[in-house]
C-alpha cells in the first residue's frame, strides 16, 4: 500500500475492506508492471509484454509518461505464440482514472482500435495529472481477456498538495480557535465590567 499519500485515506481503506474480492468469470491479467527504456535518448517509451492464453501481447506507449492533457499513442501487438500470426479479432481500449475513493471514472473509451500493419493503435488523452488504468479488452477462444496497464500523467505522487491541505487545515483551526478565544475574552471582560 504505497499510495497512502492522499486525503480521503480512511474512506478509501474502508472501501477496500468492504469491496468483494475479484470473482469475475473472465480473464483479468491483474495490474502488470511496466518499464521505461531509460537508455533511449528520447522521450521515455512505455513497454509491456504479457502471455495471455495462446497469445503474446506487447504494448508500447509513446510518450511513456505523458504530460497532463497530452495525447499519447498506444500500440498493441497481439500474436499467436506458435504461428506468430496477428490476432484476427477486435481490440478495445478503456482508460480509467485510478482514484483512491469510489469507482474509477472512465475518461476514454471503450474505443475500438485502429488496425495498421498488424498493430492495434489508440490515441487516448490523459487530461490531468493523475494515475490511470489503461485496459485492453478482446475476445479470444470464446473468453474475454482484459489486460490492465497503469499509466501516469505528470507527477501525481507529489506530497506537496497533501501537505498544503494538512497545514491549511491546521491553520484554519488556529484561526477559528483564535476567534473563539477573542470572543470569550471580550465576554469575560464585559462581565467583569458589569
Amino acid at each position: 500500500m504505497r499510495s497512502l499519500a492522499r486525503p480521503g485515506l480512511i474512506a478509501f481503506l474502508a472501501a477496500l475492506i468492504l469491496a468483494p474480492g475479484s470473482a469475475e468469470a473472465h480473464h483479468i491479467m491483474g495490474v502488470p508492471h511496466y518499464a521505461y527504456s531509460e537508455e533511449y535518448p528520447q522521450t521515455p517509451v512505455l513497454t509491456y509484454k504479457v502471455l495471455a492464453g495462446r497469445y503474446d501481447l506487447r504494448m508500447m506507449g509513446y510518450p511513456g509518461k505523458p504530460k497532463p492533457g497530452e495525447t499519447c499513442t498506444l500500440s498493441v501487438v497481439i500474436q499467436e505464440r506458435e504461428s506468430r500470426e496477428t490476432f484476427p479479432g477486435k481490440v478495445y481500449l478503456t482508460v480509467r482514472e485510478d482514484v483512491l475513493v469510489g469507482e474509477d471514472p472512465i475518461i476514454y473509451g471503450p474505443m475500438e482500435a485502429l488496425w495498421e500493419d498488424g498493430v492495434f493503435k489508440f490515441s487516448p488523452n490523459l487530461p490531468k495529472e493523475a494515475n490511470y488504468i489503461v485496459r485492453v479488452h478482446y475476445q479470444a477462444d470464446g473468453a474475454p481477456w482484459d489486460i490492465d496497464l497503469p499509466m501516469t500523467a505528470g507527477d501525481p505522487g507529489s506530497p506537496l498538495a497533501t501537505l498544503g491541505i494538512y497545514l491549511g487545515a491546521l491553520l484554519a483551526l488556529v484561526i477559528i480557535v483564535r476567534a473563539i478565544r477573542i470572543k470569550l475574552d471580550r465576554r469575560a471582560a464585559a462581565e467583569a465590567k458589569e
Partner: protein, 651 residues
C-alpha cells in the same frame, strides 16, 4: 531475593545487551565494533547468505569448490552442504517464493532489477508479478530458534511456573496498602536527586528544552525525508528510524529509563512550540476546555493503537517512507489540535497511544517520580506541583504528586522538579515491577489495554510469518473476499481470541476460588496487569530481532537520509553486518521471554496476595492464571521459533 539486589537487575540486563552488541562471537565473527575500528570498508565483510538471503558477517562460513560462502546460522550451512547446486544455480525468485525451483539463465530468463539488485525470472507473468511488489521478493526469511532450544525453554517455563506457585504467599489475606508516597518495605528506592550532577541535570529547564528542540528538529527531518526523499524504503531513513529503531528503542527506554520518551517527545514539543508561536500578543491561544467526560479513560488511546496496528501491518506502511511520514504528521496533528482545544495536555493523558502503552509498561520500569516527604507535602499550601508557578508548569496530566502512586499517567516532564517550592521531588531508581507489586487503582480500561497489548504484540510477530500469509489467503478464498478484508477479519479474530481465552480462565479462577468476596470483574482487571511483563518482554524479544539484525543500516542512511546520493558523514556506502549473530540473538530472545514469564508469575502472586482470600482459595484461583501465563509464554516462544520475514533487504 534481597531487596537491594533487585535494584541491580536492570543494570545486569543493560550489561547483557551491551555484551551482545560488542562482544565477538565465535572464532572469526566480525562485530560492529571491529567494523567501526577498521573504518568499515564498504562491503568488505558483509556477504549474502545464499540459503536464506540474509546479509551476514563472517561468523559462519564454508570453503567449497574453491569458493568461500557465509551463513547466518549452522542450519543454513547444513542446507547448503546437502545440496549446493540448489543455491548456486540462479533460479526464478517468484517460483522460489512459491516453493518451486526453476533454473534460469541470462539467455532465456526475463531480467528485472530493483534497488540495484538484478534478478532473472522464468516468464513474463513472473516478471510482472515481481515488478508489482519487488520488495516482497527481497524480504529474507530468518530462522527462528531451533527446536531443541524451543523445547528446553518450554520445560523451563513449566519448571519456573510450578516452582513459583509452590512458593505460596507468606502472609494470608489482604496486606495493608502503604500510605501515599510510602515505598513498600520490599521495594528499595534510590533517589537520584541526591547526586549533585543529576539533580542539576534534571532541574535544568534550558537543557530539557534544548533536547526537546533537537528531537523536534530530528522529527521534522524524518518527516521531510519520508515525504520528499527517495520512496524506496531501503534508500530512505524514515521507515528504518521509525519502525525498526524507534519502536524497539521505545521499549528499551521504558525498561531502563521509564517514561523518558515522553520527556523528549517531539510531537508534544512541536505542538507546544507551534502554540507559543501562534499566541499573538502573548495571549494564550488554547481554549482550555475540559476533556469530554465520556472519554476520560484510555479507550481513545487503545482504539488508536488498534488502528495504527491495522494500518501498519495491513497496508505495509513500514515499507513506505511517505506513509510513515503521514503517520508522524497525524500524531503531531492530534497533539496540536488537542493542545488548542483542551486543557493542559489532554492528548498525552487520554489519547496518545505511545504515551498510554508506555504508561502501562512503565508500571514495570525502574524509574519513578514521587514526593520525597509526605509531611512536607502536607504542610504545602500552594500545591504548585499541580497548579504550577513561575518556575514550572502545572502538571500537564493532572497528577497530584503527593498522591501519585504509579507511573501510568506521569509523562516525566520534570516540571514539578522546578515548581515544587519545598524541593521535595525525588526521582527514584527502584526494582523492576515496583508499581505492579502493589496495584493501587486497577482500572478496566487499563486492563483491556494490557490485554490488547498482549494480543497485538503477538499478532505483530505472527504477521511476519508464512503461516499468517497462508491464513489470510485461506480466509480470502473461503469467504471470497479481498486481501484487506481477510487481513482485517484475521486481525479481529487474533486480537479477540486471547482476550476471550483470558476471560474464560478468569471465570474458572473465580469458580475455583470458591470465594464470594472477589467479583469476576475484580479478577479480570487485576490479573490483566500480571500479563504485562509477558507482553513487554515478548515485544522486546520480537523487536530486538529487527533492531539487532537491521538497525545497523542506519549508519549508511544517516549520511544519505533522503536517498539522494548524499554522503554527509562519509558512511553512505558502508555495509555493516548485523549487530549480533543469529545464535546470540536466539539466546537473548529466549532469556527475555523467560524473564517476562517469571515477572508475570511474580505479579500474579502479588495480585492474589492483595485479595481477601484464604490460603487454598488463593492457590486454586492462581491455577487458571498459571495456565494462561504458560500458554502465552509458550506462544511467544512458538512465534520466535517461526522463520521470520525480515524487512532488511527491503529497507
Amino acid at each position: 531475593m534481597r531487596p537491594r539486589i533487585r535494584l541491580l537487575i536492570p543494570a545486569v540486563f543493560a550489561l547483557l545487551i551491551m555484551a551482545v552488541i560488542f562482544a565477538p562471537v565465535g572464532d572469526s565473527s566480525v562485530t560492529i565494533r571491529q567494523e567501526l575500528e577498521a573504518g568499515a570498508p564498504a562491503g568488505g565483510s558483509v556477504h549474502d547468505d545464499l540459503v536464506c538471503g540474509m546479509r551476514v558477517g563472517e561468523g559462519i562460513r564454508l570453503e567449497s569448490g574453491g569458493g568461500l560462502f557465509y551463513f547466518c546460522a549452522e542450519r543454513c550451512r547444513e542446507l547448503f552442504v546437502a545440496d549446493p547446486e540448489r543455491y548456486l544455480v540462479r533460479a526464478c525468485v517468484v517460483c522460489k517464493s512459491e516453493g518451486k525451483r526453476t533454473p534460469v539463465s541470462e539467455r532465456d530468463g526475463f531480467a528485472a532489477s530493483w534497488q540495484e539488485e538484478s534478478v532473472l525470472l522464468c516468464s513474463a507473468p513472473h516478471r510482472a508479478a515481481f515488478l508489482e511488489d519487488p520488495a516482497g521478493f527481497f524480504l529474507h526469511s530468518m530462522w527462528g530458534i531451533p527446536s531443541w532450544l524451543y523445547y528446553t525453554c518450554i520445560a523451563l517455563v513449566m519448571l519456573l511456573s510450578f516452582g513459583i506457585i509452590e512458593r505460596r504467599p507468606k502472609r494470608r489475606g489482604a496486606r495493608a496498602l502503604p500510605m501515599a508516597g510510602e515505598s513498600p518495605a520490599s521495594s528499595p528506592r534510590f533517589d537520584l536527586m541526591n547526586i549533585g550532577i543529576l539533580s542539576w541535570l534534571f532541574s535544568h529547564r534550558g537543557l530539557r528544552r534544548s533536547v526537546r528542540a533537537f528531537m523536534a528538529l530530528a522529527f521534522v527531518g524524518v518527516i521531510a525525508a519520508g515525504l520528499f526523499g527517495n520512496q524506496l524504503p531501503g534508500k530512505n531513513v524514515a521507515p528504518l528510524l521509525t519502525w525498526t529503531i524507534w519502536w524497539c528503542g521505545l521499549v528499551l527506554i521504558i525498561l531502563f529509563a521509564g517514561k523518558a520518551w515522553c520527556t523528549i517527545c517531539p510531537w508534544d514539543a512541536l505542538a507546544g512550540f507551534a502554540e507559543r508561536v501562534l499566541s499573538f500578543g502573548g495571549r494564550p491561544l488554547r481554549l482550555g476546555l475540559r476533556w469530554p467526560k465520556l472519554m476520560r479513560n484510555i479507550w481513545p488511546a487503545t482504539l488508536l493503537f488498534i488502528a495504527l496496528t491495522w494500518f501498519e501491518l495491513g497496508f505495509e506502511i513500514t515499507l513506505s517512507p511517505r506513509a510513515t511520514a503521514y503517520m508522524g504528521l497525524a500524531m503531531f496533528g492530534l497533539a496540536f489540535v488537542s493542545l488548542l482545544i483542551f486543557d493542559r495536555k489532554a492528548f498525552c493523558r487520554y489519547g496518545c497511544l505511545v504515551g498510554r502503552i508506555s504508561g502501562l509498561y512503565a508500571l514495570f520500569s525502574p524509574v519513578e517520580i514521587r514526593a520525597r516527604d509526605q509531611d512536607a507535602c502536607a504542610s504545602c499550601e500552594t500545591k504548585s506541583c499541580y497548579r504550577g508557578n513561575d518556575e514550572g508548569m502545572a502538571c500537564p496530566t493532572h497528577q497530584f504528586l503527593p498522591t501519585m502512586e504509579q507511573n501510568t499517567y506521569c509523562i516525566s516532564c520534570l516540571e514539578c522538579v522546578n515548581s515544587c517550592e519545598k524541593d521535595n521531588v525525588s526521582i527514584n531508581l527502584r526494582p523492576w515491577g515496583a508499581d505492579l507489586e502493589r496495584l493501587h487503582k486497577p482500572r478496566s480500561d487499563e486492563a483491556y489495554l494490557a490485554l490488547t497489548m498482549l494480543s497485538l504484540s503477538g499478532f505483530h510477530g505472527l504477521t511476519m510469518t508464512k503461516i499468517w500469509q497462508q491464513t489470510t489467503s485461506w480466509i480470502g478464498e473461503a469467504l471470497a473476499i479481498g486481501h484487506s478484508a481477510a487481513f482485517t477479519l484475521g486481525m479481529v479474530a487474533i486480537t479477540l481470541a486471547p482476550i476471550a481465552l483470558y476471560a474464560g480462565l478468569v471465570w474458572l479462577a473465580k469458580v475455583l476460588a470458591r470465594s464470594g468476596s472477589v467479583s469476576f470483574r475484580d479478577y479480570f482487571i487485576r490479573y490483566a496487569y500480571a500479563l504485562l511483563p509477558i507482553a513487554l518482554f515478548y515485544h522486546l524479544a520480537h523487536n530486538s530481532e529487527h533492531l539487532l539484525m537491521e538497525g545497523q543500516n542506519v549508519v549508511a542512511l544517516a549520511s544519505d537520509p533522503f536517498g539522494w546520493n548524499w554522503d554527509l558523514f562519509g558512511t553512505a556506502s558502508w555495509e555493516l553486518p548485523p549487530l549480533t549473530s543469529l545464535p546470540t540473538l536466539w539466546l537473548v530472545q529466549v532469556i527475555l521471554i523467560l524473564v517476562g514469564h517469571v515477572y508475570s508469575l511474580w505479579v500474579a502472586r502479588q495480585v492474589v496476595s492483595s485479595m481477601s482470600l484464604d490460603r487454598w482459595s488463593s492457590i486454586r484461583s492462581q491455577l487458571p492464571m498459571l495456565a494462561a501465563m504458560i500458554l502465552f509464554s509458550i506462544l511467544s516462544l512458538w512465534l520466535i521459533k517461526q522463520p521470520m520475514e525480515m524487512r532488511s533487504s527491503a529497507m
